[in-house]
């Protein structure tokens, strides 16, 4: 089947914050309305709406998609929620892509939203319910624990010093100082990260992203509609590749050092984009930068390796040496990421896709990477640490 060319033409972001006064619907509306206004279109021009939101237990509304429909501009449209946990924010624009590439729709409004402050006593109490009822939940697992297990194994296997992992928190929280949506932009030292409160060894407070409220929307269009609306190619980022992959739910049995599912998702996206050489050197040359998922600092590194952008066990030193700084050889998470901007689950990954768009269209303001950028990748990860979702965008005038 011949696939149509699809572009993101605008984004809309709310501020990310600990506890927004707005309802989830109102957060969705701010983002969706901003994206429509930025694109210079109205809801009447929209053919379909897509809603991305993670567990219902955060906002506290079961079947959150039906609740969010009006705020996301989806009333009386073919509106559908895709849901792959933390991977949702990248999967939602992938849904937008196939709705348009297939020829079904021309103009799609994609909204990712999360209001995590509603849930009590904590988001981790909600996360407890994603584990197996019989053999895991009686022990009271939460995500901090299971990431502590994964992080320790990753460090041991490759002999990674904690300083190298801490460098990711310093970089991302520092980058977030330049992001208008950010809630935790901070100028930190590696010592600050190492000396922060211990949550579950080896995970400390500053290794982790904050729970948050927020929403991010996109307007996506077919090439034909972009021409019809007279939208400048300077404002467009084309979807060049997409990929997603789900591993077994038995998280205990997976390779704790290497996210195979991210590799599979990434290779699907690279192949679709026509990039045959999947070696780190070739990929870092082909891509200008990346926005991998960073709910924990070591996950950015883990994911860079799964994405084939660095050899196994080699990403931490690159981060420590500044290779992945915004002005480094291969910028990673110039936005400030989940660690710095905040982690309203689905919206956080939406923010990463938005960052790729903003960098490629030269609209990243103080965050703009100080070199020509032609192509960027966003990746998210979720469900029970088992899904990888990848999207690759290129600039509107890039062949």
């Amino acid at each position: 089947m011949k696939k149509r060319k699809v572009g993101i033409v605008s984004v809309g972001l709310t501020k990310f914050m600990r506890r927004a006064k707005e309802t989830p619907k109102e957060l969705a509306y701010y983002a969706a309305k901003t994206a429509l206004d930025e694109a210079g279109i109205t809801r009447k021009d929209v053919d379909a709406a897509i809603i991305g939101s993670a567990p219902d237990a955060f906002d506290g509304v079961h079947q959150k998609h039906e609740y969010l429909t009006d705020g996301a501009g989806g009333v009386n449209l073919p509106t559908m929620r895709g849901y792959v946990g933390g991977g949702t924010g990248v999967f939602s624009p992938i849904q937008g892509w196939y709705s348009i590439a297939s020829g079904m729709h021309d103009v799609v409004l994609v909204t990712t939203e999360e209001k995590m402050s509603s849930v009590l006593p904590s988001a981790q109490a909600a996360f407890n319910t994603i584990f197996d009822n019989m053999i895991e939940r009686p022990l009271g697992p939460n995500l901090v624990w299971i990431f502590a297990l994964e992080m320790r194994r990753y460090m041991e296997t490759y002999g990674i010093p904690k300083e190298h992992i801490a460098a990711v928190s310093v970089k991302n929280k520092g980058n977030a100082l330049d992001h208008p949506s950010a809630m935790l932009g901070q100028k930190l030292t590696i010592e600050d990260v190492l000396n922060s409160e211990v949550l579950a060894e080896p995970v400390h407070l500053l290794d982790i992203s904050p729970v948050a409220d927020g929403a991010v929307s996109f307007v996506m269009m077919s090439e034909e509609k972009i021409k019809e609306f007279g939208i400048s190619l300077d404002d467009v980022a084309w979807v060049e590749g997409v990929g997603w992959n789900v591993d077994t739910t038995m998280w205990t049995n997976r390779d704790l050092c290497y996210p195979k599912y991210v590799e599979k998702a990434a290779k699907q996206a690279y192949t679709m984009a026509g990039q045959k050489d999947h070696s780190p050197e070739a990929l870092r040359k082909w891509l200008s930068f990346a926005e991998p998922y960073d709910p924990f600092n070591y996950k950015e590194l883990h994911h860079l390796e799964g994405l084939q952008l660095f050899e196994k066990g080699k990403a931490p030193l690159a981060a420590y040496e500044g290779v992945t700084a915004r002005d480094g050889d291969f910028p990673v998470t110039p936005s400030g990421g989940l660690l710095g901007v905040g982690n309203p689950i689905a919206a956080a990954a939406g923010m990463k896709v938005a960052e790729v768009y903003l960098q490629l269209t030269g609209k990243a303001e103080k965050r703009q990477i100080p070199k020509d950028v032609t192509r960027g990748l966003a990746q998210a990860w979720g469900d029970l640490m088992q899904v990888g979702t990848v999207i690759i965008l290129k600039g509107g005038r890039v062949n």
Partner: protein, 154 residues
């Protein structure tokens, strides 16, 4: 068609008890604050979309049709009168327990509004669709949905 599974029976089984141990504190929202504060003053506040003239009660931040933002519009006080659009008499609660006193729930269109409000119908024996009703206010109001005890025949 059916697999030959002898394990598929209704027999008693070993169980592990669990639950979803979460509860919530919901923000009422930007426009919700206006609506609930209106109830505290025994007022029914609504907002009209300038673009399509649709009036929302309870009010909203945005028009779901034309997507205009309504936050900056003037919130108007509706008359305390509504029409019953539909009703039901409920005999059981959501746990399946029988109610000692069955009661009426209704969909009520407040005069001047284009949307329909869900609340209790009280002090009525035989309601009918089209019946004109008015809110019965609680003695002390505290910006809650139950500042209105229910609606009764006007």
């Amino acid at each position: 068609m059916l697999p030959k599974r002898r394990t598929m029976t209704d027999a008693p089984t070993h169980e592990v008890r669990g639950g979803f141990p979460v509860h919530f504190h919901y923000t009422v929202g930007i426009v919700g604050e206006i609506f609930f504060n209106g109830l505290k003053e025994r007022k029914l506040l609504a907002v009209t979309c300038k673009e399509c003239s649709k009036t929302y009660f309870p009010p909203r931040m945005y028009c779901e049709d034309c997507f205009a933002e309504l936050t900056n519009e003037e919130f108007k006080t509706l008359e305390q009168e509504g029409t019953v659009e539909s009703f039901t008499k409920t005999y059981k609660d959501h746990r399946g327990n029988s109610l000692s006193e069955p009661y009426y729930l209704a969909l009520i269109k407040i005069k001047g509004s284009d949307t329909v409000f869900f609340h209790k119908l009280i002090n009525v024996d035989e309601p009918n669709i089209g019946m004109i009703v008015k809110p019965v206010w609680s003695e002390t109001t505290k910006a809650s949905l139950f500042d209105i005890i229910g609606f009764e025949p006007a």
